[in-house]
């Protein structure tokens, strides 16, 4: 019988033994501390891919979007046919350095225009919508350490749900620590030690795991000294927290951050312009910081949204829900450039672009080539990607 204070001393084995955690927790350690990190960026609400990576030589694009198309003169030219939205200017340096990849035409079979069904498909990597756990949750089970993937933010996305519990969400690294009121350690411990079932047991295990996670973070983050000036935004602050965790070597293989507000049914230019500016400024600062920390060859970022938007603008100078869209990736470990062919804007499916690249192929390369994990067992099948990992 382990000492009941063991969990406060934060030993993984003690937690496994005292709480009846499933076996995979006890297996831990060995694979947990790979030295590469994948940062996943979720753009919530359906980012308009056509106004992100703009087909500026395509007349059909301008014909479909008389008031919200990005004028050719404003586009940041990447290729003879494609360029970035002007708000993405902070990423031009990465592009020039061959460290920014755009993936065209990404989607999945039988696309669903519901935000929630579609996001669940990206989170579970299961277009049949049968899966209940997240693809990153499955990574954690495979690695055997619930701390190997963390969300930065207030609520944990489905992507990080494992069969038995959800992985950590760290709202702010600075306040991510437990300070029990004086004299209550023993009683707190005793209160937690009562055996429980059902949701009470879930809360008990979550509390114990939290004690362990917070200690692990606080022991390490003091090492970090910021290497870049981050802009003022919640998104940038979350990326900085991601950088702190990576620099501290806390052990996460995957870190998840989100930027919301992309549901641009009306007045899209103003809204999406702001969001893309926030995205680009945050990512550029993050990348500069990671470089300064000497970690540039150990971190890549991969970004997605649950769907793109209708090709034609609507009457509110916005766009309604669409199907396929673009993904992006950046970092020294990325093969820069545009991967895949651009959508044919004159051959549409119900007004939407027809996807050609299954998103699971993009995930697969991140898992297999970047994180050296067995993508097949995590994604439940063999998927081919566009070759975005260098």
């Amino acid at each position: 019988m382990p000492d009941r204070r063991d969990f406060l001393k934060l030993s993984a084995l003690a937690v496994a033994a005292t709480t009846g955690m499933p076996g995979f927790l006890a297996r831990a350690a060995a694979q947990a501390t790979g030295d590469r990190t994948l940062v996943v960026v979720q753009l919530t609400g359906g980012n308009d891919g056509l106004n992100t990576l703009v087909p500026y030589s395509n007349g059909a694009y301008y014909a479909a979007r008389p008031s919200i198309a990005i004028p050719k003169r404003d586009v940041l030219t990447l290729t003879p046919d494609l360029g970035m939205h002007p708000a993405l200017k902070p990423l031009m340096g990465l592009w020039d350095a061959g460290q920014l990849a755009w993936m065209e035409n990404v989607g999945y079979p039988n696309p669903n225009r519901s935000h929630f069904a579609s996001m669940a498909i990206w989170h579970t990597a299961d277009p049949s919508q049968a899966g209940a756990d997240g693809w990153i949750g499955r990574v954690a089970e495979k690695i055997g350490d619930p701390f190997c993937a963390s969300n930065i933010g207030g609520t944990t996305p489905l992507a990080l749900r494992a069969d038995t519990f959800s992985l950590p969400s760290i709202e702010r690294v600075d306040t991510f620590g437990v300070k029990l009121p004086q004299g209550l350690d023993g009683a707190f411990d005793a209160m937690l030690n009562a055996p429980r079932v059902g949701e009470a047991d879930y809360l008990l295990r979550a509390t114990r795991q939290m004690m362990k996670n917070t200690a692990r973070v606080q022991q390490n983050v003091k090492k970090y000294r910021s290497g870049a000036a981050y802009p003022e935004s919640r998104f940038a602050a979350q990326l900085q927290d991601a950088a702190r965790l990576i620099a501290a070597g806390v052990g996460q293989r995957i870190i998840y951050v989100s930027l919301g507000g992309f549901d641009t049914h009306a007045g899209q230019r103003a809204e999406q312009d702001d969001l893309l500016a926030t995205l680009a400024a945050g990512l550029a600062a993050f990348h500069a910081d990671i470089q300064k920390q000497g970690l540039a060859d150990r971190v890549v970022v991969m970004g997605f949204s649950e769907f793109g938007r209708r090709v034609a603008e609507n009457a509110s100078a916005g766009t309604d829900h669409g199907k396929g869209s673009v993904m992006f990736a950046l970092g020294a470990g990325v093969r820069g450039g545009v991967h895949g062919s651009s959508p044919d804007l004159e051959d549409l499916s119900e007004g939407d672009i027809k996807y050609r690249q299954d998103f699971r192929g993009v995930y697969a390369e991140g898992l297999q080539k970047w994180l050296s994990l067995d993508a097949r067992s995590i994604l439940g099948g063999e998927f081919t990607g566009p070759g975005w990992v260098a």
Binding site: G45, R113, E171, R172, F176, E199, A206, N213
Partner: protein, 429 residues
């Protein structure tokens, strides 16, 4: 088959369970007052609320100096009503409905629009017609703005409201491979909904307090033939709402929501169908559905006791109501309504139009930490209210012989309360 009634008069544990679910908790005395009564009577009395609100609410959104301040005051005023109002079940239902007919203060920053929306949720909380409720809430300026129907005009459709009306407010999306509606229904619905917008008000510094009202412009309405969910005609806004709100799947979808709110995170499908039958038989009478539900054997089933994780707002309100409603200072209430946001629940602003899923989604490292801070602030901190009568185990844990008591021996009342509030048992309803 409608639901089987709970066969016994209430025991102390039954009464505690009822009040944890319907009133966000209660004192020992309030629990004991229900013991021995028939379940049906208890449910009917709890649902029999009027328009009264908490006296002395210190927050008036109309004095907010900026749109942001107005929103903070709106949230704090609601939190005050939840904690101190005379009708906890009405407020609990209003919160449930705000998580069904979702609007968000990211797009709706006008005080009269928010006040009208909230008033409507309270008025229809356990009302006699879901269809009427759906129509009225759909025609609030708050909803017209939030889901862009103010931009939905003849020949220039905006599909946002049409889609969410079916997916989230009425029918539900259906099973994979067995959808309840098609993309064509979304488009046809959008056409029928054209022309409804609002006048006045606004979201900016000089208009956020100005009156706002729904308006219909016939010139922007598409009055042509449409086919929507199998019905064809020159359908308009009212037709679409009627067809969607009285669709057979709506009875199931709304019943499942109510079961999730009051019975179990994963409801028993047979019981959901029972409520759906009552819903259809009574023409969508929410009061009748709720009265039956809150006095049913399913509601009181042992496996459903202490099985739903309290949400952030519920957790705070439960603490205050269990402690006998000590009066918190205005500043503390403002802080708490912000803190609820750090725990994932900013009132009137769910992350998405789907609302909060609740259950285990409320729980992660950061939110657990914040719960511990809230518990400390309410019991140990310098600004903690003086403890009145220390609540008993029935009020704190819902039963008189749970696992926590022994651990709390030898502590002073404030310490006992603190540890009770951070215990798994208190975090469940």
């Amino acid at each position: 088959m409608s639901l089987t009634p709970h066969p016994h008069n209430l025991s102390p544990a039954d009464a505690a369970h009822f009040l944890r679910r319907t009133a966000y908790g209660a004192t020992d005395a309030q629990i004991r007052a229900l013991v021995g009564q028939p379940a049906r009577t208890v449910a009917r009395n709890a649902l029999n609320f009027d328009a009264r609100t908490a006296p002395d609410n210190p927050f008036d959104p109309a004095v907010g100096a900026t749109p942001g301040a107005m929103l903070q005051l709106t949230r704090a005023a609601w939190l005050f009503e939840l904690m101190y109002g005379p009708h906890p079940l009405r407020e609990r239902l209003a919160l449930t409905w705000s998580n069904h007919f979702v609007i968000g203060t990211d797009k709706v920053k006008n005080h009269p629009a928010l006040a009208a929306y909230l008033g409507l949720l309270r008025r229809h909380a356990a009302g006699s017609s879901f269809e009427r409720f759906t129509l009225e809430v759909s025609q609030t300026p708050a909803m017209l703005r939030y889901l862009d129907n103010d931009r939905n005009k003849k020949g220039r459709p905006n599909e946002n409201f049409s889609r969410e009306l079916m997916e989230l407010f009425t029918l539900g999306i259906g099973e994979p491979g067995k959808p309840n509606y098609t993309e064509q229904d979304v488009r046809e619905g959008a056409r029928a909904l054209t022309g409804w917008s609002f006048e006045g008000g606004g979201n900016v510094k000089n208009t956020y307090l100005k009156p706002v009202s729904a308006s219909f412009n016939p010139r922007q309405h598409d009055d042509g033939q449409k086919t929507y969910l199998g019905q064809t005609g020159r359908l308009d806004f009212g037709d679409v709402i009627r067809i969607a709100a009285t669709h057979p799947q709506t009875a199931v979808f709304v019943s499942r929501k109510l079961h999730r709110a009051f019975v179990a995170d994963t409801p028993d499908e047979a019981a959901v169908q029972g409520s759906a039958e009552t819903f259809r038989r009574t023409g969508g009478n929410l009061g009748a559905v709720l009265e039956e539900l809150l006095s049913s054997a399913a509601f009181y089933a042992p496996q459903h006791r202490a099985s739903i994780i309290r949400g952030p707002v519920e957790y705070m309100v439960a603490a205050v109501r269990t402690l006998g409603q000590p009066r918190l200072e205005a500043r503390q209430l403002l802080n708490l309504s912000q803190t609820a946001g750090r725990m994932g629940q900013i009132l009137l602003q769910p992350d998405t139009v789907k609302g909060w899923d609740g259950g285990r989604e409320w729980i992660n490292d950061s939110t657990l930490l914040t719960r511990m801070q809230v518990a400390a602030a309410l019991t140990l901190g310098g600004t903690a209210p003086p403890p009145g009568a220390v609540p008993g185990d029935l009020a704190l844990f819902g039963s008189e012989n749970g696992p926590v008591q022994a651990a709390l021996n030898g502590l002073n009342p404030r310490q006992r309360l603190y540890l009770a509030l951070v215990s798994p048992e208190f975090q469940l309803a």
